[in-house]
């Protein structure tokens, strides 16, 4: 069993007199990929805000054992998607804390932005305006922005909003890869049950103010446990500041490396979109 990354213990939360969450308990372990699903207004965004520390529970506690948390907000709204900035400028905002107040980005910061855009498959778009990109590409940029700060935990809020099915599939594969290859802990808040069931370790339902584990996902979890990296990441992330290896990582590298390692054969193919879990005929897992 891995170390707990997020521990939500007996948490209740109310907006005024309206109870949104009541006595919620769950744990997300290191290197897990967990989905939180529920209908609009069920309380999943509240739960996400509690995890991010934007809200304080009225009862119980939320412990996040990550030094840095990458947050990917919803895109597809005009306020974000029409902002007059290019991709590089947007991703650089992810390094704001590291660059420091009253300081300007250095060459090394721009290099890290390039590396992380390469990982997200967006390096050719770095001088393009955000408004010129499709919804899926904008979401990749937002993921790159979250990744550039080298977070231990990635939290995504409705990543499929305003994105077509094909772009959504590519996005899920990127997240899947981040989890499988780099051991990143991912929590994704969404109402898209189908994709969550395919890609995550397990998922929780938020309903009527309570959170419960989806029983079918427990089965998936057990089946996948031998395939999941619950001990250590398979590779160091190229966007990691402490990474001393090759910096000119490319998607082709990832595919080449993957092909020589039997333990990674279950990772989805970037180009084809195939997933071994599908090949085994278990669509739900």
């Amino acid at each position: 069993m891995g170390k707990p990354m997020i521990t939500v213990r007996n948490v209740s939360f109310a907006y005024g007199r309206d109870n949104v969450l009541t006595d919620v308990n769950f744990i997300v372990e290191e290197q897990e990929y967990v989905g939180i699903i529920g209908a609009n207004g069920a309380g999943k965004s509240t739960l996400m805000k509690l995890i991010l520390g934007q809200l304080t529970p009225s009862k119980g506690d939320v412990v996040v054992a990550a030094d840095s948390v990458g947050y990917v907000p919803q895109v597809g709204f005009s306020a974000v998607s029409n902002f007059p900035a290019n991709v590089e400028e947007i991703v650089l905002t992810g390094l704001n804390k590291e660059i420091g107040m009253f300081h300007f980005p250095k060459k090394e910061h721009r290099k890290r932005v390039y590396d992380v855009l390469q990982l997200a498959g967006m390096e050719d778009y770095r001088k393009r305006m955000l408004s010129e990109l499709s919804g899926g590409q904008q979401q990749r940029v937002m993921i790159a922005r979250a990744l550039v700060q080298n977070p231990q935990l990635l939290v995504l809020d409705e990543p499929l909003t305003g994105i077509d099915k094909e772009a959504g599939e590519q996005l899920y594969q990127l997240l899947f890869r981040l989890n499988r290859e780099y051991g990143m802990t991912i929590v994704m808040v969404t109402h898209n049950m189908e994709q969550v069931a395919r890609y995550t370790n397990r998922f929780y339902h938020v309903k009527n103010g309570t959170v419960h584990l989806d029983k079918s996902s427990i089965l998936c979890d057990e089946m996948l446990k031998d395939k999941m990296i619950l001990s250590k990441p398979r590779r160091r992330a190229p966007y990691d500041a402490s990474y001393k290896g090759r910096r000119n990582f490319s998607r082709q590298d990832a595919q080449d490396n993957t092909s020589g390692d039997d333990s990674r054969k279950d990772a989805p193919d970037d180009a084809s979109g195939n997933d071994s879990r599908q090949e085994k005929g278990d669509g739900a897992c």
Binding site: L52, G53, Q54, V69, Y71, P73, A79, V80, F83, P84, A85, N86, E89, I90, L92, T93, G94, N96, K97, I99, M101, F102, F104, P105, K127, R128, M129, S131, E132, Q149
Partner: protein
């Protein structure tokens, strides 16, 4: 064309006009991208109440405008927090209060011409003290904008993300609100209270049509504003027009073709 520079008032007009053309769009970029374009309008109308108050009390009207504007700007922020999804409500409320107050107070002013000069500006009748004040405000606004350049961009793009990243959003918003109020008050004297907000929005709107980055949006906004000011002042000198209105309309004449030829992504 250089003959107009033999007059000291025209030299001052160009100096003050260009300084304001640098700082108004810097503030404009922030308010436009925060979807609060009408803030400038609300504050400039409210500044008239301050001008009236200053004239009644016998103090410098610009000081009166600054005090009232700062109070109005923070009131907008407070009301905005009460209606987070309807930010424009706060602007409408403060604008109504400002106009109502200005109209009542204007009835008590003996020198009506002095009050009217703030409505449409009097860039060619600026005193040395006012030049010094504009210079001081310019230095402060430019310095703050450069030092907080990336934080301001972060906040305008994703305020929630900026809070998470540890950016002191509250403090920076406080500084921006303060600078917006001061800039609007100082500019009201020169280009006119009724036209400050146009100079805050039109150059930014022009820049957004052609820029391919945030940095260029900021630079082009300032360059457009300087261009409009210079052309507007020259036209107003030779055709005996009101400078404030000429500057703003010059901007509009540039914006229209830019919008017509700009392709939506």
């Amino acid at each position: 064309m250089l003959d107009m520079f033999q007059y000291a008032f025209m030299q001052k007009a160009f100096l003050v006009g260009i300084l304001l053309a640098v700082i108004i769009p810097l503030i404009g970029v922030i308010v436009v991208l925060k979807r609060l374009s009408m803030v400038g309008d609300a504050l400039s109308h409210t500044s008239l109440a301050g001008v009236a108050l200053g004239l009644i009390l016998g103090i410098n009207p610009i000081i009166g405008a600054i005090v009232v504007c700062i109070f109005a700007a923070f009131s907008i922020e407070q009301i905005r927090k009460k209606f987070p999804r309807y930010a424009e409500i706060s602007i409408s409320i403060i604008m109504s209060v400002g106009i109502g107050l200005a109209s009542i107070l204007s009835g008590f002013i003996e020198d009506g011409a002095a009050f009217n000069s703030f409505l449409f500006g009097s860039i060619v009748a600026i005193t040395d003290t006012e030049v010094a004040l504009v210079l001081l405000v310019t230095v402060i606004v430019v310095t703050v904008f450069l030092l907080l350049y990336k934080e301001l961009m972060f906040i305008t793009f994703d305020e929630q993300g900026a809070v998470l990243a540890g950016v002191p959003v509250g403090k920076i918003n406080f500084v921006v609100t303060l600078l917006t109020a001061i800039t609007v008050s100082v500019a009201a004297r020169s280009v006119g209270a009724l036209m400050v907000s146009s100079l805050m929005v039109i150059p930014v709107a022009c820049a957004m049509q052609i820029a391919n980055s945030y940095k260029k949006t900021v630079i082009y906004s300032v360059l457009f504003a300087i261009g409009f000011t210079v052309v507007g002042l020259v036209l107003s000198y030779y055709f005996n027009l009101k400078p404030g209105g000429t500057i703003v309309l010059t901007g509009v004449f540039v914006l229209i073709p830019l919008m017509a030829f700009h392709k939506e992504p």
